[in-house]
């Protein structure tokens, strides 16, 4: 592997070099240390289009003032990776944590996820996939600094030790990392380095506060929506009221009359066409949009209706779908007496992600190249899409990753429809930066929902009270079909529809799971924890029902039913049992405990909830969560993710927590019709307990979500004797 000191003024050269080098490097790992005197001037403030803010080929930059700037190879949108990845690197590097600065890396091949092969956040993979990568980066950086110091002192590198950004020699010599950086950059990157033993970690495993708290508390942090630059215009788009409809005729006279409106023009959309309005500011753009008179062409466009779909899905669920899992005897269920069977139908609605920061993208196109700013979970795809619309190569689009106000999957869209809209507008506005803003209404009605699902499950109960046969039919649109990920489908089955059921950790003989993937004119997308949002609900409410019928304690029943190899789940279940034991024994009158456990994305989670009924709604007084995520890189972030993630999961139970369609049109418009949890809907207290582990870390972004809703309705069932199989939870 070769190594080069980079200079921010030579982006093309260093980029070419990098691409050649990385092609030969397993996993695409490369450390570049460089000194860049202009870097200080680039901190904070609005982006400067003429300057290359981030050289594309670096993870670590040791500045002369001692600051260590670490590039984070993925989006920060709440999950805490902008703190955790630098912790991992800084730990192996023995860097002074108080001097660490984290930056979100732009789109570049070097920042692709080492496992997925594209630059992205998804599948709770940030720590799971980049733990080893960032450790090696830190260890190699440290090794190069040590070699530089040893060369200076004319001693063997192994005589040196490092601590808090200083190399110490055996004779009392010492040199700060910043003093060694230039020399270290000339040292060949070591092919292999010794990594720390877990007991040597100084940062990993330590509760560490987020690096981005203060600027998020004083209003100074710039999200994508906050960007401003000289001459910038703001755009909104009038989208068709039915997905895929096209503009038939347009009367924009009144809209053009709004002061501050610059342009009104039709643009192609990912589905159908729309009308873009470009104005000096957002308010005139939005006012003008309200004045457009558009006749829409609905010909050839399916007008989806969620009530009708539900009936169709229910009918389909009575027939076998495409085989996902076939264990044991498919007919076993038919040989079990009806009295010993549970037949359960579940319904789940479309769900919007509705991240707090509405979707947006800013692009400036000068004819030969472009610069884009977006909070993106899919930089690789979004950069490619912008390039395609503008007739450029991806590398001609400098793509800045902006801090994003939530996402939950909504910023990971394979068709990059928001970026394509922004690019269509920027193409027309050549030379002028333009910020496309989706209003909240655009967001709620704009599609890309967690798909609606129906599950039909027949469970046969053996004489021991345990399930002896299980026939399970899932009906729901495929997330992967028609996307670049379609190759992951096997025999027509999208595993993201059945994950959590087909691969259950419960020992269920004669288990048969099949799936129907209807094609519906409603764009769908992964929603935080993907298939587990509905499969965990089905599995955990049914297992609870089985325990009740068997008159066995629900925790004990799960313990018995789990496979012995489900070590993470068993450990989480035991820890939850232990930590909730006291309050479970002392429940006030009218309160009940509910339980669930579910493994997703490699992380085992168990939870206990204390619930009462207030104003005909579940009131969640307390949640005890136990989690086995392998090595807990930042236990404080994990605690925080689980405390809040269960609150996010309660979105599914909100009375107005559904997106519905009538005659092809979405019936909700804003947070008054599609209502996420407010503080009164969230648990009052959540205590989180982490199973000690030396296993490789798994993700913690999504695993909190699946467990909470089933635990809450299991508690409700204890209070009311009813079963809750249809969401949203309209009535208790």
């Amino acid at each position: 592997m070769t190594f080069k000191t980079t200079n921010a003024d030579e982006p093309q050269l260093s980029r070419r070099n990098f691409l050649r080098v990385s092609a030969t490097a397993a996993g695409g790992l490369l450390v570049a240390l460089y000194l860049n005197p202009s870097a200080t001037a680039q901190e904070g403030g609005p982006p400067r289009p003429q300057q290359k803010v981030y050289p594309p080929d670096a993870f670590v930059h040791i500045r002369q003032d001692g600051k260590i700037v670490i590039q984070v190879n993925r989006l920060e949108f709440g999950q805490g990776v902008q703190t955790a990845l630098p912790m991992i690197l800084a730990d192996e590097m023995d860097a002074d944590w108080s001097q660490v600065v984290a930056e979100l890396a732009p789109a570049a091949d070097v920042y692709r996820d080492p496992v997925f092969g594209i630059q992205m956040v998804g599948g709770s993979g940030s720590i799971a996939h980049s733990f080893q990568q960032y450790r090696e980066l830190g260890a190699k950086t440290r090794a190069m600094l040590v070699i530089a110091a040893a060369n200076r002192w004319n001693i063997a590198p192994d005589k040196c030790r490092t601590e808090q950004s200083v190399v110490h020699g055996p004779g009392g010599q010492s040199a700060k990392y910043a003093e060694l950086a230039t020399d270290a950059a000339r040292v060949a990157v070591p092919a292999s380095v010794r990594l720390k033993n877990p007991q040597e970690f100084r940062l990993v495993g330590k509760r560490t506060r987020r690096l981005d708290s203060r600027p998020k508390c004083d209003g100074s942090l710039k999200f994508g929506l906050d960007l401003d630059m000289p001459g910038m215009k703001v755009a909104v788009v009038a989208h068709p009221p039915v997905f895929g409809a096209r503009v038939k005729s347009l009367d924009d006279k009144a809209a053009r009359g709004v002061e501050g409106v610059r342009e009104v023009f039709e643009i192609p959309l990912a589905r159908g066409t729309g009308v873009a309005i470009v104005a000096d500011k957002y308010w005139p753009a939005k006012q003008a949009r309200g004045l457009l008179k558009i006749d829409w062409d609905f010909s050839g466009v399916e007008r989806a209706d969620s009530s009708r779909l539900r009936e169709q899905y229910k009918q389909l669920s009575h027939t076998a779908g495409l085989k996902s899992v076939a264990r044991g005897d498919a007919k076993a269920i038919d040989n079990i007496a009806t009295a010993n069977r549970i037949v359960a139908e579940f319904e789940f609605p479309y769900l919007a992600h509705s991240p707090m920061e509405p979707l947006n993208t800013t692009i400036r196109f000068d004819g030969k190249s472009a610069e884009a700013w977006a909070g993106s979970q899919f930089q690789t795809f979004d950069q490619m899409a912008i390039a395609e619309v503008l007739g450029l190569k991806p590398e001609q689009v400098t793509f800045h990753t902006e801090m994003a106000g939530g996402g939950f999957g909504r910023r990971a869209v394979t068709d990059s429809h928001v970026q394509r809209e922004a690019a269509q507008i920027a193409k027309r506005l050549r030379g002028t930066p333009v910020k496309l803003i989706w209003s909240r209404e655009d967001d709620i009605r704009g599609g890309y929902y967690r798909p609606m699902h129906v599950h039909r499950v027949e469970v046969g109960i053996g004489s021991d009270g345990m399930p002896s046969a299980w026939r399970h039919v899932v009906v729901g649109q495929s997330l992967l079909a028609g996307t670049p990920f379609a190759m992951m489908m096997k025999d027509g089955v999208d595993s993201s529809s059945v994950e959590g059921a087909s691969d259950t950790h419960y020992n269920i003989p004669n288990q048969h799971v099949s799936v129907h993937h209807p094609t519906v004119n409603v764009p769908v997308l992964w929603w935080r924890s993907v298939g587990h949002t509905h499969t965990a609900y089905v599995m955990e409410t049914l297992v609870d029902e089985l325990a009740t019928r068997a008159k066995v304690d629900p925790i004990e029943y799960r313990r018995k039913l789990l496979k012995p190899e489900a070590k993470k789940l068993l450990a989480a279940l035991d820890l939850m049992d232990e930590k909730s034991a006291v309050w479970r024994r002392n429940l006030p009158k009218g309160h009940a405990a509910g339980f669930s456990c579910h493994e997703s994305f490699g992380t085992g989670v168990a939870c206990a909830v204390e619930v009462s009924i207030e104003n005909k709604r579940p009131k969640v007084h307390r949640v005890t969560v136990a989690v086995d995520p392998g090595i807990a890189v930042n236990p404080l972030t994990i605690e925080s993710q689980f405390q809040a993630g269960v609150g996010f999961g309660l979105s599914q139970l909100m009375a107005k927590g559904a997106i519905t369609l009538k005659d092809g049109m979405v019936e909700q418009r804003n947070f008054d019709g599609y209502v996420p949890p407010y503080i009164v809907d969230a648990p009052v207290a959540v205590d989180v307990h982490i199973v000690p582990s030396a296993e490789a870390p798994s993700g913690c972004g999504e695993p909190p979500v699946p467990v909470i809703s089933p635990a809450v309705v299991n508690a409700l069932s204890r209070l009311t004797g009813k079963r809750y199989r249809s969401l949203p939870l309209v009535a208790v």
Partner: protein, 154 residues
Amino acid sequence: MAKFHLTVNGQRKEVTVDPSTPLLWVLREDLKMTGTKYGCGVSACGACTVHVNGVATRSCMLPISLLGERPVVTIEAMSDDPVGRVVQDAWVEKDVVQCGYCQSGQIMSAVALLKHTPRPTDTNIEESMGGNICRCATYVRIREAIKTAAQQLK
């Protein structure tokens, strides 16, 4: 378009905008103060909360023409506000934020609460914070941080 004068964080400002323009967009686009966030535009999420005459107010539905002489205080002034600073510090100490987008509004609601009710009960907190959505649902830590701030303000 019309000319309006307003007092934001103690400073006199002048803007020329359409009278229907909500205070939120005057702050964000005319005064370039982007700490106040757009979340819904219909007073349903509280991301745009500012203090108008000391009262926590959704700036997304307040037309500039109806502001009058009432002074406006935004998140940008909280570091210099005796209660605001304590609340911000409590937020940082408790590691409240995740995505952080709603937190300007959460902090503005919390500061207004503590200025009027220095020892808030859980019910006070739920009432005053009841209109602020945190989509990450950091509510447990928001509640803790308000209690921490209240302790420190004693």
